[in-house]
Symmetry: C2
Subunit: 183 residues, 2 copies
Amino acid sequence: MGYRACVTVTLFVATSLDGYLAGPDDDLSWLFTDQDYGFEDFFEEVDTLIMGRGTYEVVCGFGKWPYGDKANVVVTRNPDLEVDTPGTTVFSAALPDLLKELEEDGAEKIWLVGGGELVRSFLSENLIDEIMVSLHPVLLGEGVRLFPHGFPHTPLGLIGATQYENGLVQLNYRVKEAVKSPE
Amino acid sequence: MGYRACVTVTLFVATSLDGYLAGPDDDLSWLFTDQDYGFEDFFEEVDTLIMGRGTYEVVCGFGKWPYGDKANVVVTRNPDLEVDTPGTTVFSAALPDLLKELEEDGAEKIWLVGGGELVRSFLSENLIDEIMVSLHPVLLGEGVRLFPHGFPHTPLGLIGATQYENGLVQLNYRVKEAVKSPE
């Protein structure tokens, strides 16, 4: 099992039924924006955000930085990546070390924002505690996958499923220990 | 829009949260088998099954043929595929023609069994009416995808979501008309 301590890492994301975070060309126009589907309550509890470089660029493309001054970390292979958004730092080493550092700095509840490559890295080291998926009633057919292949079999425990009138289903899972492949 | 007539095509499948029909080496050991999650009621209403060649081989590997003597069609590029299971025929032409033929033969309710390649072909021609997914609380990490990429944006309408105590969530959707890409 990977590094697990007092910090809680929650993957909170919206996907299509076919598992895309975004359509072609990072299209997010299919996302419901009429309600927040529990996001504001979740966001208030979070002290630190972690995201991949691609996700960071998509968020920067929104124009206005949406995460206030909350501490946020961009994970990238490029330690010289330039960032100029509030509270942002860059991290390029091992993920368990990142969580250890954040914990030492007082982090308690971390939002893993995405994207798919970073989710795979976190799952590969069994570093996610909770998964909250806003499952949208659409098949996108192509795009950016939330769960690219290539991590261990990981059982989940359902905490709850909430159905909204417009067809969105909010799914909350607890992540159990990943199953090691036989050597 | 593709051929749509009196026949109803329902995709009824079990998947992991990361969208796999089967794990590596067609592993299905993660499927809950303690209940049928609506399958028996659904199966009783179905008169015809359609599946891809790969799925057919997996089902044949179960030892006992599980579908009684219901009419079932194996879609394959190989018109000479040999089949020796009850009620099985082989089809190698265009899918709308298949549905038309089945309808002429009196079919009313068709179960699209899988696998992913055939699902993509059906979605490419907007030939699925309903999707019923038994979403299992597990991430498999790799395997056979239910929705391989490469079909048009397809909106869905949620009919219902049912949560089971063991964490399975049964999701039922009506398929709307696919969105054509701009030429």
